[in-house]
């Protein structure tokens, strides 16, 4: 590995090209002497050959272009807090910043990264979008779609050698029974998020959890992950309550008058608990819990102390620089989805730098291999779980103002990597990569 690269190499190429061009002019001049029909034929053939040769050489001098597709959701999800409302370029902005980073490196290596963006409506079939982008020469796809749509997208690419990066879907099943050898996951799983939170609550000895679950499928999946985490790390769910989504607007002119009466009523009569843990990915009620609980208890999960891959307040391990670069480029703060997309685009860049190629097979092989590690401002390198292509990563615990802690917590040991104390581990996996 290593070697002198970049500008020196490029200028040598140009010198070679100049020499070739000069000598071809010379040859062309000599040909003009010929006056016969055969001479004219020779002249034509030679000219054609020269044009071909020059075209080929010019192509060689151009930087290697690596094309990336970003396929995101057309709709934005509703949130309780205005502060959490997703920006229009949520996710894709992260990928764009990584592309800039890749291109800064690329200018030293004669590599260029470009990106095309597409949006797919919720529930629609993304097949046509994927095929259209693939026809533009795109082999790498950063995808923020629901689990089912992601699987359809990947299926559309089967046999075409496309590589997918799941930056948005946190469903464990995509890394388990529905795992694929051409889908890499930069988004953490629900079980990783739940384990990251559970380790901290156990460290705090907040062992008795009152679990409040939303009525949507995703909420139930997060509750499953939290229940599993409690079991693994020695916490106890004293009771579980379901908060039914009866519909209704998240913002009303009458305001919060009723909510501060409803929440204590909903939580009354619960057994003694140390913490209220909420599973509400659908953003129906969790953000209403802090400061409104019946008993004065902290809230964690979908509100209060939230486990996530990234947060606007994260500034450790050089993260400050990334946050500054992001702010300068997009005039807003960086979200978890931005970070997950940034990681995907940087993985492509990092691999292309190392293997000096834009070939999807070569890049995928490098990412799956033992030499790959991503520097992602999390205090240690991020690597891929080779059994299901999930990016190992620490989980940040954010309260909306600061980073309270980062899991894995001290003392949660693992024979291979402490990051594998988060989420479903190799011995339990249902994934068979194909």
């Amino acid at each position: 590995m290593g070697g002198a690269l970049g500008l020196g190499t490029a200028s040598r190429d140009f010198a070679a090209l100049n020499r070739a061009t000069c000598s071809s002019h010379l040859a062309f001049g000599e040909m003009r002497e010929a006056t016969t029909w055969s001479g004219a034929l020779i002249r034509t053939v030679t000219t054609a050959a020269l044009v071909l040769l020059l075209t080929a050489m010019l192509a060689g001098a151009e930087p290697l272009t690596i094309k990336i597709g970003y396929v995101g959701r057309a709709e934005k999800k509703a949130t309780i807090s205005l502060l959490d409302y997703p920006p229009d370029n949520d996710g894709v902005a992260g990928a764009r910043l990584a592309l800039e980073d890749n291109n800064t490196t690329g200018k030293f290596l004669d590599q260029r990264f470009v990106m095309e963006e597409a949006r797919v409506k919720d529930g629609a079939d993304p097949t046509d979008t994927i095929l259209r982008l693939a026809d533009h020469g795109i082999s790498f796809f950063i995808v923020d779609l629901s689990a089912d749509m992601l699987l359809k997208a990947a299926e559309a690419g089967r046999g075409r050698g496309l590589v997918f990066f799941n930056a948005g879907a946190i469903d464990d099943r995509l890394r388990e029974e529905d795992c694929r050898a051409d889908v890499i996951h930069t988004a953490p799983t629900r079980s990783m998020l739940a384990d990251g939170l559970a380790q901290y609550l156990v460290f705090k000895r907040w062992l008795r959890w009152l679990l409040v679950v939303g009525s949507h499928d995703n909420d139930k999946l997060f509750a499953d992950a939290l229940r599993r985490a409690a079991g693994r790390f020695g916490a106890r769910i004293v009771e579980q309550r379901v908060f039914e989504d009866t519909g209704g607007a998240r913002r009303t002119d009458s305001g919060l008058v009723q909510i501060q009466r409803q929440i204590p009523l909903f939580l009354q009569g619960a057994p003694a608990h140390d913490v209220v843990v909420a599973a509400d990915e659908s953003e129906v009620f969790a953000s209403y819990l802090p400061y409104r609980t019946r008993d004065p208890r902290p809230v964690a999960g979908s509100a209060g102390l939230i486990p996530k891959s990234w947060d606007a307040a994260h500034d450790q391990w050089g993260a400050n620089q990334l946050q500054n670069r992001f702010m300068q480029s997009f005039s807003r703060r960086m979200t978890a989805l931005d970070m997950q997309a940034w990681s995907a685009a940087r993985m492509i860049g990092e691999a292309a730098t190392r293997v000096k190629s834009g070939d999807p097979h070569t890049i995928l092989a490098y990412l799956k291999g033992p030499d790959f590690g991503l520097a992602a401002f999390k205090g240690q390198k991020l690597t891929l779980r080779d059994w299901n292509l999930q990016l190992r990563q620490p989980i940040l615990l954010a309260d909306g103002r600061t980073i309270v802690s980062v899991s894995p917590q001290e003392g949660f040991l693992h024979q291979f990597s402490e990051l594998d104390t988060l989420g479903i581990d190799r011995p339990e996996t249902k994934c068979r990569l194909k």
Partner: protein
């Protein structure tokens, strides 16, 4: 002679030797930047005690002493400048115009120019120290950090943390003449005094690349395995190499250890347990001692270079990061 007498004589002899040594130990000043306290702790290296504390700007990290020994320069990243501390008065007397968020820097052999890595804008700034003037910028990779100058002053090496390269910059033309790919998040660059090797540490990659500065290729890569320690905790940062080039020291960050490396074979000889999250190092000018900054335990470890032993720990300010030692 009775055995008892011999022991007595030995003891008295020992005391005398110790006395003479203490009398001979040159006192240098070590300046330690405390990233969190916004102060510099001044250590008397003979007494191994903090003898003064200097208030500086926000987030002091990179620190060095000018060749004429008149000033301590400290990069205060969150104030986007480099402060100059008068070594006579221990006061901040002036600033140098770096780019945004300066972190590490190095001066040229004449002591006239300062080369500064600015983490926030992908440039290396060149400063005329005497005139306090910014002479120009060189565009490098993403998040420039480590700075090393070849002993002849002709080649400046800058490492960029996200681009993962050591950029070779011709100091006469300010042009990049080579880019050498190293492992992830390169943080520090150190030439041997004879210019025969350049060592670059990769914090996330967990390695030190040994580069041949003439051929401009990585000729060796040093990795570290500490028994019972997870690999992710091994994060090489600061590097110090003895004048004769025979021994190298590499700070391993959260592994809380300094690796001692044979300068010729590049084999790891030994690990020295220091404080928590060790960042950077500096030798006393006589090379008897090596001081390390331990970020999380708020102290400085003193290593006896000949014995390769940690002999003392000095409490400093909060989150010590860089260290520079006066030449007299």
């Amino acid at each position: 002679m009775k055995p008892g007498t011999a022991m007595w004589l030995r003891t008295i002899g020992g005391i005398c030797v110790a006395f003479v040594l203490a009398g001979n130990a040159r006192a240098y000043k070590a300046y330690v930047s405390n990233e969190k306290s916004n102060t510099i702790s001044v250590i008397d290296t003979a007494e191994r005690k903090v003898v003064g504390t200097i208030k500086v700007g926000q987030r002091p990290r990179g620190i060095a002493i000018t060749r004429d020994q008149k000033y301590v320069l400290v990069a205060v990243g969150d104030d986007d400048t480099i402060q100059m501390i008068d070594t006579a008065s221990n006061r901040v007397v002036d600033t140098l115009p770096s780019g945004p968020d300066p972190e590490l820097f190095t001066d040229d052999p004449s002591g006239r120019l300062l080369y500064v890595a600015n983490e926030n804008d992908n440039t290396v700034t060149i400063i005329d120290i005497e005139r306090r003037a910014r002479l120009g910028d060189v565009e490098v990779g993403v998040e420039p950090e480590g700075m090393g100058l070849s002993p002849d002053g002709k080649i400046l090496v800058n490492t960029s943390e996200t681009t993962n390269m050591a950029h070779f910059i011709d100091t006469a033309t300010h042009q990049i003449v080579a880019n050498i790919l190293v492992d992830a998040r390169p943080r520090f660059a150190q030439f041997k005094d004879d210019g025969s090797e350049l060592w670059v540490s990769s914090e996330i990659g967990g390695t030190v690349s040994v580069i041949d500065p003439l051929k401009r290729v990585v000729k060796n890569k040093i990795s570290f395995t500490v028994p019972g320690m997870r690999q992710e905790a091994i994060q090489p940062v600061g590097i110090a190499i003895t004048h004769d080039g025979k021994t190298g020291f590499v700070a391993l960050g959260p592994a809380n250890r300094i690796a001692v490396i044979d300068g010729t074979s590049h084999q790891v000889q030994k690990f020295l347990l220091v404080g928590q999250r060790v960042w950077h190092m500096a030798f006393t000018p006589d090379e008897k001692y090596l001081l390390t900054t331990n970020g999380v335990s708020n102290d400085v470890s003193v290593i006896d270079v000949a014995a390769l032993k940690v002999i003392d720990t000095i409490q400093v300010g909060e989150l010590p990061w860089g260290v520079a030692i006066s030449q007299r």
